[in-house]
């Protein structure tokens, strides 16, 4: 659809991250929405300013300088909507990930059913589950009351009971929640999100509405074995907004600029990935990953189903010590291409956590950050994979076939070479079959997600304008063979009729030098019953592919990527792999 047929509206998206606040400007050019400019400034949510608007102003001021368009005046503040002389902007939307995670207590009947569902719901936002209460915990009412008054969570998520299922047991826990809320001051009372047995909703209102901030969402487990988190996610996002409004200075002003179009960055990422999955092949699915300073976010969508997971304290800045807490130092250093003393690695990680916006000035520091990013992504992926397999599979511990993967985050976009960006995504995600790795080089994914609610045409047209950088098509067969064994024959047919073939051996990383944007047809013939995503082990097939900035990459290193017990061998191998990628850069 041509945008001249609809009322065109310019848009600024503001993404308030833990270290950087980014402002992006979109407008109509030649009848279509385009991404036009990006600017950033340090986030000012923390000390000494405690007010996100200062960082936002600075980012918007830089956007003014870049675009030579006035967006705000000293007298009037933000100029919304735009004026006839092209000043200001018509619409603003904002996303946010800055701030400490909201503290959550999950409540359910059984640990491995309703509590798991409640945890999955909590993981769709920047939340830290600080305690859980269930029938399995053997706590008395008195102990539950003391636990809740001591922990003082921002939010209690209550799940449990299929519709028309158990209710009495849940009500006894609810009594403890009500009493503990009553004991707290008004300002300290938690939000309560009830997502359990729908027959108990009235009881909840009767018992909790007057003494807490009660929210009711549809049951996240309406029938056993069928988790349905999405409707409750919207309610959770409203709670996130309210908690941020209370805890972070300047949010009220941002809400007034955006007329309430404010959401968590993770939620916006989930929304745009869902949007993209409908545009691409809905069956195959799309995944977006955001490796942030404090958190890593994975959002996947296929056939209309969304999986969103936020991993707070797992990042490459403020959350870098979280990577150290979630893995051994060896699991981080195994990604390095050369030896760096363990003490230096540990000290650098702690310093990076203390100064999250600082940049690596030397190459060994950069390599530590890249290793951190790979390990953070690996942890997040391994925890998310079980939720991604919708059907039984022989490779349940591996990444299912998904295309494309889109990566965002400063560690990816700031990396000096595209080979480094690609290696972070390739090693962290370890995709299987034939797929594409793309880079959200301007950090526009969350903004597009937030904009899709109010202007879906903008989201569609900006995505269609090749806004993501294709890093490369990946072919990753899975199976078992000794390193050096031929496992795949590839015939590449170019559009001009030229062809060439390659035999690929197990344990290697090979690049087919296909130019960025060049379309080719590939005939893949796996050997030794390797599965290359053509319908099963040993099956051959044709697939169309497009060259990325690093061509087409054939990754036969194995899934999961094997490591040697000898660290020297790992460093040497990593060095060889990155040099292979750099050769084509």
């Amino acid at each position: 659809m041509d945008t001249t047929t609809v009322s065109a509206k310019s848009l600024i998206t503001l993404d308030i991250g833990n270290t950087i606040t980014r402002a992006l400007f979109f407008d109509v050019v030649s009848g279509r929405y385009r991404f036009l400019a990006s600017a950033s400034a340090p986030t000012t949510a923390a000390a000494p300013l405690f007010d996100v608007t200062e960082g936002a102003w600075r980012a918007i001021e830089e956007l003014q300088n870049i675009t030579s368009r006035t967006f705000f005046s000293e007298k009037e503040g933000m100029i919304i909507p735009s004026t006839q002389d092209n000043q200001g902007v018509d619409v603003m939307v904002a996303t946010m990930s800055a701030g400490n995670p909201i503290s959550v207590v999950t409540v359910g009947l059984l640990d491995n059913v309703s509590l798991l569902n409640a945890r999955h719901l909590a993981q769709t936002t920047y939340a830290d589950v600080i305690a859980k209460i269930s029938l399995n915990d053997q706590l008395t009412s008195t102990e539950r009351i003391n636990l809740l008054t001591e922990k003082r969570p921002d939010l209690i998520i209550i799940a449990g009971g299929t519709d028309k299922g158990a209710s009495k047991a849940l009500l006894s826990i609810i009594e403890s929640i009500g009493l503990s809320s009553f004991l707290l001051d008004d300002g300290l009372r938690p939000h309560i999100l009830y997502t359990g047995n729908e027959e108990l909703q009235e009881e909840m209102k009767k018992g909790l509405a007057k003494i807490s901030k009660l929210h009711i969402a549809p049951n996240i487990l309406p029938v056993l074995g069928k988790e349905n988190i999405y409707p409750a996610q919207n309610e959770l996002n409203e709670i996130y907004k309210d908690v941020r409004k209370r805890q972070t200075g300047g949010i009220r002003e941002v809400l007034s600029w955006t007329e309430g179009n404010f959401t968590s960055t993770a939620s916006a990422l989930g929304r745009v990935i869902r949007f993209l999955s409908e545009k691409y092949e809905p069956e195959k699915g799309v995944m977006g990953v955001d490796i942030g300073s404090y958190a890593t976010v994975l959002a996947a969508a296929s056939s209309g189903e969304e999986t969103l997971r936020v991993f707070p304290n797992l990042g490459v800045g403020a959350g870098s010590t979280g990577v150290l807490e979630n893995s051994s130092l060896e699991e981080i250093t195994r990604w390095l291409p050369f030896h760096i003393p363990e003490q230096d690695v540990r000290d650098y990680i702690n310093n990076k956590s203390a100064y999250p916006s600082s940049l690596p000035t030397e190459s060994d520091q950069l390599e530590i950050e890249i290793a951190l990013a790979k390990q953070a992504l690996r942890i997040a992926v391994e925890k998310t994979i079980p939720s991604l397999h919708k059907r039984p599979s022989a490779f349940r511990s591996l990444m299912p076939p998904i295309e494309p993967f889109i990566g965002s985050g400063r560690i990816l976009t700031n990396a000096p070479t595209r080979a480094q960006s690609l290696s972070i995504l390739l090693d962290g995600l370890q995709p299987t079959g034939v797929t594409t790795l793309a880079l959200d080089q301007n950090g526009i994914l969350p903004g597009l997600g937030a904009a899709s609610e109010i202007n879906p045409l903008l989201t569609v047209q900006v995505i269609e304008s090749n806004t993501f950088l294709n890093l490369g098509t990946i072919i990753a067969p899975i199976g078992y063979a000794r390193p050096g064994t031929p496992i795949l024959r590839i015939r590449v047919n170019r559009e001009d009729g030229r062809t060439f073939t390659r035999e690929i051996k197990s344990g290697s990383l090979t690049i087919l030098p296909i130019e960025l944007g060049e379309k080719v047809s590939l005939h893949l013939r796996p050997l030794h019953r390797f599965d290359v995503g053509m319908g099963g082990p040993g099956k051959s097939g044709k697939v169309n592919a497009v060259g990325g900035s690093l061509g087409i990459i054939i990754d036969t290193r194995g899934r999961p990527l094997p490591f040697s017990l000898d660290p020297e061998k790992n460093w040497k191998r990593n060095d060889t792999w990155i040099k292979t990628l750099l050769k084509y850069e």
């Binding site: 400490n100 009351i145 300290l188 003490q343 702690n350 203390a354 600082s358 950069l366």
Partner: protein
């Protein structure tokens, strides 16, 4: 205070570090008494048998409900405390606990009262903020181990003369040193940096440990060193709280100097410009203090290969380096 308490200071009152500002039951404990179950009656009957209302203060053994039945069964208060909620056959009872006393922690003047929560204390002096604290707080006499805080704190430097003092030293890379300091015992420790391997021991020490610049084996930055050496033998408030920038919690040292003239308030937000005195954070030049000679108008390529806005900074003995702007902080003097 995170909960309601009783503020016992008044506006414009001068306070010393040990003066109590507010008292409150910081972590009250509760008991849910099942009256109906205990008396073996219905909930409605139990409510009729209640002798207490919400708000009643009870001593241990006081009757809450009853008597009922042949044996005149009663429910008594298991501890001294306060009845918080009654009804539906139950009583929620708050157990009396010793009140937490929040001390001023510094010399100063109360400039504002926060009703039922605390007060704002204003003081003149020096403030040094760090990046890591082990969660403990103290107040005492500060003694640098030497006039030169660029060296490692060694076991042989810690002697009985430091008993009860807050020590200041360059860096620590040996956990045994912290344990020896605990046996003296010292009252607190301020370090320029700390080796990451020593953190588990530092966390377990019951005296406050504050790290100013970061992690590794680097000397203390010279600006902090100058202040600490110049204030040798003075009382300092050492709050080694855990670093949380979003709630404004920095581990910090306050050295009150009430007789000094009132200084100008620092500017909250100022841009980096040529001539500004800065501290280099993170990276091989940290924690050097230098001056910005020039801010490049275009992004520079760093040795790491990253392109970033950067400045030329002169530090130390006329050394010069290109430092990304994100790696410098303006030094407030």
């Amino acid at each position: 205070m995170p909960i309601e308490g009783h503020v016992i200071v008044r506006r414009m009152q001068k306070v010393t570090p040990t003066d109590v500002i507010v008292v409150a039951p910081l972590n009250p404990k509760y008991i849910l008494l099942e009256i109906a179950h205990g008396l073996n009656v219905t909930s409605a009957r139990a409510d009729e048998l209640l002798q207490r209302r919400a708000g009643d203060e009870l001593a241990k053994g006081d009757i809450i409900a009853g008597p009922v039945g042949l044996f005149q069964r009663v429910i008594r208060a298991p501890h001294s405390g306060l009845v918080r909620i009654v009804g539906e056959g139950k009583v929620l009872f708050e157990i009396s606990s010793p009140l937490f006393e929040l001390q001023a922690g510094m010399e100063g003047t109360i400039t504002n009262i926060i009703p039922e929560r605390g007060a704002i204390i204003e003081t003149r002096g020096a403030l040094i903020q760090g990046v890591w604290g082990n969660g403990n707080i103290t107040y005492g006499v500060m003694q640098p181990v030497s006039n030169n805080l660029n060296q490692e704190l060694l076991a042989e430097q810690i002697n009985i003369g430091f008993r009860g003092a807050i020590l200041a030293a360059g860096y620590c890379s040996n956990p045994n040193v912290l344990e020896i300091a605990a046996t003296i015992p010292i009252k607190g420790l301020v370090l320029g940096s700390i080796s990451s391997d020593v953190l588990p021991t530092a966390k377990s020490m019951n005296y406050p440990i504050l790290v100013i610049d970061g992690f590794g084996t680097k000397p203390m930055n010279t600006a902090a060193e100058e202040i600490l050496v110049a204030n040798k033998d003075r009382n300092v408030a050492l709050n080694a709280q855990v670093y949380d920038p979003f709630s404004g919690k920095y581990p910090e040292i306050i050295i009150s100097q009430p007789n000094q003239p009132e200084p100008n308030l620092p500017i909250e937000s100022e841009p980096l410009t040529s001539g500004k005195r800065v501290i280099i954070v993170n990276g091989s030049q940290s924690p050097q203090i230098g001056t910005i000679d020039l801010i490049h108008s275009r992004k520079k390529i760093l040795s790491s290969g990253i392109k970033a806005r950067a400045a030329e900074v002169t530090y130390g003995n006329e050394k010069r380096a290109t430092i990304p702007l994100s790696n410098v902080e303006i030094l407030k003097e």
